[in-house]
């Protein structure tokens, strides 16, 4: 029997190791798996790479993880927020490496990883200094830049409801990066608000089929 529901964050994060890349869902604070991400801090793993659209806000979730010093590197599009104290302080003393990626390219690179695509050409950023050092190609008279897949060792995502097969539905704009990160994580862990009986979720409206989800934790 398939039962992806695990008991507690220890089981949810089992197997995480030094140097892992974590894909952390959410846009601003919406759709971010605060408790799950914060549970990483206590694991004793370090030199993590955190992939997240932003860099957390205040002292919770991704911001708390960054503040803990466990992450060596942040891959993001917009490390600013309503309360950017943590990232601003880390950046000021160069205590974290930042790789800045345009938001759509960030999403597409994760999708490529999840989809078995070896890389793709996009016009986004091609004629900017974010393309420095990257392969450029003119296609149909327009300049494109080559971007590589961005897989995660873990995807730490948030969803509204799940069933024991790991099927997920989200709520409104809390969907954002979570489905694409689920595709790109070698181990995808979903923090969910509710676990429902198998067969309850509308098969036409499941936003993340369980094939992309390894563990579900209620929080």
């Amino acid at each position: 029997m398939i039962d992806k529901v695990v008991d507690g964050f220890g089981a949810a994060l089992a197997g995480m190791k030094d140097g892992d890349t974590l894909l952390c869902g959410g846009f601003g604070a919406v759709g971010e798996a605060f408790a799950l991400v914060e549970a990483v801090i206590g694991l004793g793993v370090r030199d993590l790479t955190v992939v997240c659209n932003n860099a957390g806000s205040g002292l919770v979730g991704v911001a708390a993880l960054l503040k803990s010093g466990k992450a060596r590197r942040l891959i993001c599009s917009y490390p600013r927020s309503l309360d950017p104290t943590v990232i601003d302080e880390l950046y000021a003393r160069r205590a974290i490496e930042i790789e800045l990626v345009p938001q759509g390219t960030l999403s597409e690179r994760m999708r490529a990883a999840g989809a078995g695509i070896g890389g793709f050409f996009t016009r986004t950023g091609a004629d900017t200094n974010l393309a420095e050092g990257k392969e450029l190609r003119e296609i149909d008279g327009k300049l494109f830049v080559f971007e590589k897949p961005l897989p995660g060792d873990f995807a730490l995502i948030k969803a509204h409801r799940a069933d024991r097969w790991g099927n997920l539905v989200y709520r409104k704009a809390a969907r954002n990066f979570n489905p694409v990160m689920a595709m790109a994580g070698k181990v995808t862990v979903a923090q969910v608000g509710e676990i429902v009986e198998l067969g309850t979720l509308d098969p036409e409206a499941i936003a993340t089929p369980g094939i992309f989800v390894d563990r579900v934790v209620l929080a």
């Binding site: 919406v30 999403s107 986004t124 990066f177």
Partner: protein, 224 residues
């Protein structure tokens, strides 16, 4: 001469949006455009965080924590609206499905180059967000910005001095002084505020301006 307020700029910008257009509003001043959409037109607002058919701000007490716009303000959904994930959202942007992207800017060049993500001497970590995707992907990019910097610096330039967001993408600029089109024949002045003449505007603008034959005064309601 009285420069337009931010709300007047947003109002003017909103008047050019057509019935049935799919429009993305950038963070900052462009967000205000949603308050002035012409009521006789259906304009579908796209929000990069996975929303089509976004409505205005919710009434007090009706805010939904899971329903925010790209600037992280609380939002609503219109009938006909839909939610989708980030990848589909940027597929819409990159794939040319967005008719108009309205963004703020630090500088725009005479060739329509856009610089709106990095400033000189920013001590904070750089942030680009979705600006490069929108600049490269939207069918049309329109800029909404103060005509000059707070220090009086020129922001419509022969060549941008700041890092680019994309080349040759801007077609129209709404400032607190004028409405200008970026064309192959140069930067064309379509509208100026009451009391402003071309000579004065030219002094505030680097590229040589062309006055449109049918130029007119910007008329906006009194919005502060």
């Amino acid at each position: 001469m009285r420069p337009l307020s931010r709300r007047q700029m947003a109002w003017r910008c909103a008047q050019d949006l057509g019935d049935g257009q799919y429009v993305n509003l950038g963070i900052g001043m462009p967000t205000l455009v949603s308050d002035y959409l012409p009521p006789d037109r259906e304009i579908v607002l796209h929000s990069e965080n996975g929303i089509l058919g976004m409505g205005g701000a919710p009434k007090p007490g009706e805010e939904d924590p899971d329903l925010i716009n790209a600037g992280r303000g609380k939002a609503t959904l219109l009938p006909g609206g839909s939610f989708f994930h980030h990848n589909d959202s940027f597929l819409m942007i990159r794939g040319g499905h967005i008719d108009v992207s309205i963004m703020g800017a630090y500088e725009v060049s005479a060739a329509g180059d856009l610089a709106n993500w990095a400033t000189d001497g920013d001590t904070r970590a750089p942030g680009v967000g979705g600006a490069m995707d929108l600049a490269a992907g939207a069918k049309e990019v329109r800029v909404l910005m103060e005509h000059n910097g707070k220090d009086g610096s020129k922001r419509i330039r022969d060549v941008c001095t700041l890092p680019l967001t994309a080349k040759g993408c801007v077609t129209r600029i709404y400032t607190n002084l004028a409405v200008l089109d970026v064309t192959r024949d140069g930067v064309v002045v379509r509208e100026m505020i009451e009391g402003l003449d071309l000579e004065t505007l030219q002094k505030l603008t680097e590229p040589k301006l062309v006055l449109s034959k049918d130029w007119k005064r910007i008329g906006t309601p009194n919005l502060q």
